[in-house]
């Protein structure tokens, strides 16, 4: 080959046109499409949180996007991250590989990110419509958040001297640091939500007035009235209801509580009362009395273990029969043995146990709070939610109720049909359905400290987890990485379907046509 010929060859090479001039997307019969399926965590979450989607954003270190996704269902992750009993993790598919994703810690991290980084943003535009929310528990706050964002003027009316409902007056501060609640409340206020405290609707103000002054009213007064058993001696000094007791503690009042303390009940309120009592100066003998066995306790096992670790004693299979006092002050409780038989509780009246106690706290149930109606005798159209409607439930359920109420009220004001009450999707993607064989380098790896590394453990389970498998296996280089997301270039995708077949998360489907 002489020099000229070589030059000639190089010229040909330089004139080459990339085959991208050839739009092979025209060959396509089927198109890869992201089709989200529900994940077990999302199915387990009482407020239907889009968990894999916001985890994915954290994995990509895009916290602003993660917050945007989070707040579609949950505006208070800093709170739920602390207090929710996280049923989401119970079913997490990752358990089958190593350990469930630490969703609460991630939720907390995102909540704190939001409190630190999001300046209060006034709603994009104000619209006609004034709304009153009665009760500032999580249901009321969530409703206020969504309606305010939609542009309505929201006023929250609260009976207590502080806002937050059971978040402020029920849940002890060692489980929910009050700075967090304060910051959330402050953000709401700065974003335009009005708060009226110390106003008991039905007593200080007729509920019918709200219907005159506001365009819509949401009632979320909860179920925080304590139920007391009818036993001889319940009126003695030193006998409390858990809700009153916790409320006093949470309001920072100094209580006349004396050692030893007995708490009757087996739910979370009983444990909260016992642990709170333990924290009072001079109190070091606290015993929880429960009528059934330890295994039958409805309280969160982690909470029970924490109480035991702090020195709280437990006596099981006992039911109080009578309280005895001296000069009006409690001194002892007389108990019967009791146990479960089938569904029923059998109390053995012949046994008698005595327990010396100067304080006794009953945590045996809550009643719904209908006080708002006062002396109402006019017909009103009622929109209500949270514990008031469900009976004692939990914070995420209340948040969900507030969001749905906000949607319904906004729809009414706009004259549109309300939200679709369709039941939650069933049939979450199972571990077996995932296609983990396609995922190179996927190995068992326990929980990680770093949020982004922890989020990376999420398998997606029906939602894109940004693993990049679709990109890796595309014979047409038709999947484009874009800052940790993967986009389909339909100019070139021939519709082979490999990406959808290989997607480990099962987040893709081939759909007919272009």
């Amino acid at each position: 080959m002489n020099g000229e010929q070589i030059l000639e060859m190089e010229k040909i090479y330089l004139n080459v046109v990339p085959s991208t001039a050839n739009k092979t997307g025209e060959w396509r019969l089927l198109t890869p499409t992201r089709k989200e399926k529900i994940s077990p965590c999302r199915q387990g979450c009482p407020l239907g949180g889009e968990i894999p989607a916001w985890l994915n954003a954290i994995k990509r270190n895009n916290w602003a996007e993660a917050w945007e996704i989070m707040q579609r269902k949950n505006p208070f992750p800093a709170i739920t991250g602390q207090v929710c009993f996280h049923p989401c993790t119970a079913e997490c598919n990752r358990r089958n590989l190593d350990e469930a994703i630490n969703i609460p810690a991630m939720e907390r991290a995102l909540g704190l990110w939001r409190l630190q980084n999001c300046r209060p943003a006034a709603p994009p535009r104000r619209v006609e419509g004034k709304i009153a929310v009665v009760g500032s528990g999580p249901a009321g706050l969530s409703c206020a958040y969504y309606l305010n964002r939609a542009g309505y003027r929201v006023t929250v009316i609260e009976r207590a001297p502080v806002a937050g409902g059971l978040l402020a007056l029920g849940i002890p501060s060692y489980r929910l640091p009050r700075e967090i609640l304060q910051q959330e409340l402050q953000l709401l206020q700065e974003e335009g939500v009005q708060f009226v405290l110390n106003c008991s609707v039905g007593r200080d103000m007729e509920i019918s007035r709200l219907y005159d002054d506001y365009d819509q009213v949401f009632l979320a007064t909860g179920a925080a009235l304590s139920r007391m058993p009818s036993l001889p001696g319940v009126k003695l000094n030193g006998v409390w209801s858990a809700l009153d007791f916790l409320q006093q503690v949470n309001l920072g009042r100094t209580l006349e509580i004396q050692n030893p303390v007995a708490v009757v009940g087996g739910g979370n309120a009983a444990i909260d009362a016992a642990r709170s009592a333990m924290r009072i100066k001079g109190i070091d003998r606290v015993t929880v009395l429960y009528r059934r066995t330890k295994e039958e306790m409805p309280a969160d096992p982690e909470e029970v273990a924490a109480a035991a670790a702090e020195g709280v004693q437990f006596v099981f299979n006992v039911t109080p029969r009578e309280l005895k006092g001296e000069q009006g002050r409690l001194v002892e409780a007389i108990l019967n043995r009791s146990h479960t038989s089938g569904e029923k509780l059998i109390i053995d009246r012949d046994t008698e146990l005595r327990i010396y106690c100067k304080t006794l706290i009953f945590a045996v149930g809550q009643e719904r709070d209908w006080s708002v109606f006062g002396t109402l005798h006019r017909e009103i159209r009622l929109c209500a939610g949270g514990d008031l409607i469900s009976g004692p439930a939990a914070v995420p359920q209340a948040i969900q109720a507030g969001r749905i109420a906000a949607e319904a009220l906004a729809a009414q004001l706009e004259g549109k049909p309300g939200p679709d009450p369709s039941p939650p999707e069933s049939g979450a993607v199972t571990f077996e359905e995932l296609h983990l064989a396609a995922w190179p380098g996927l190995a068992a790896r326990g929980r990680q400290e770093d949020p982004s590394a922890e989020a990376e453990r999420c398998l997606g389970c029906g939602t894109c987890n940004s693993c990049g498998i679709c990109y890796l296996f595309c014979p047409d280089v038709a999947v484009t990485p874009d800052q940790g997301r993967y986009l389909f270039d339909l100019n070139f995708c021939k519709g082979c379907g490999i990406c959808a077949r290989e997607c480990p998360a099962r987040a893709l489907m081939m759909e007919g046509g272009w």
Binding site: M1, I12, Y13, N15, V16, V17, P18, S19, T20, A21, N22, K23, T24, W27, R28, L436, A437, A438, W439, P440, G441, L442, A443, G468, Y471, L472, F473, P475, D476, V477, A478, P481, D489, N491, F492, K494, G495, C496, G497, I498, A500, R501, E502, M510
Partner: protein, 295 residues
Amino acid sequence: MNSKINFIQPEYLHSGHYACPGCGAALAVRYLARALGPDLVVVITASCWSIIAGMPPLSALKCPILHCPFPSAGAVGSGLRRGLDLRGKHSTTVLVLAGDGGTFDIGLQALSGAAQRNENFIFVCYDNEAYMNTGIQTSSATPFGAHTTTAPYPLFKKGAKKDIMHIMAAHGIPYAATATVAFPGDLEQKFRRARQIEGFRFIHILSPCPPGWGADSADTVELSRLAVETGFFPLMEIFEGGAPVLTYRPEKRVPLEQYLKLQRRFRPLELQQIETLQQGVDEEWERLLKAAGPV
């Protein structure tokens, strides 16, 4: 599962190439080009890739391509290498890309000659187990039991697939390896290794072909994975013609039937013949384990 891989790397295969949807050979070349990088010249012998690469001036690869006649891949690779060396371009990698026809059958003598002379280039056989480009005619790489247009249904290929790895190892070449597209980490690593080695290197890539195998185009990677997981196509390396080294060992081999049933080309097989095939794979696997010695 699969060895680790850096997903995002520079790509040297352009979109818009002419491969069929779901083409295993396109994927194979995408990965090997990622591993070898830009300083590369590719010789393509008559095969699907003669088409996939595109008609000039279009090109699917970001590197120079030299098309050559069917039997000559080994000779053209040798000549190109020497020409580049004469011009001082020692670092440029020469890669010969041949199908199973251009390797097992028509290209075998030039391949054998180049291997015997220990020419300094990489010879890649992307094996789709028949003459696919000309219309699915049987080759000596076609496995027993597959029907092709020259062994139309209800006939099927009677002889066994030629053992090309044995043949190449017998040449005592510095490096020979098998790879396939479901294991891109393993594939890319083998090409990076091959690049570091001087002399003749041979890499055999099993490349599922949806139309030729009668498979769903979405199943390409799954088929490639099953070929390995069943033990039908073991992943290995052979240095200097020595004992094979397995680069991946299935935890528990999957029954061959799962691999066969995704392909209509194996439709004529009766249960008994499937058992015979399974037996063949089992024996070959045992032999391989023995030859490979303790891991």
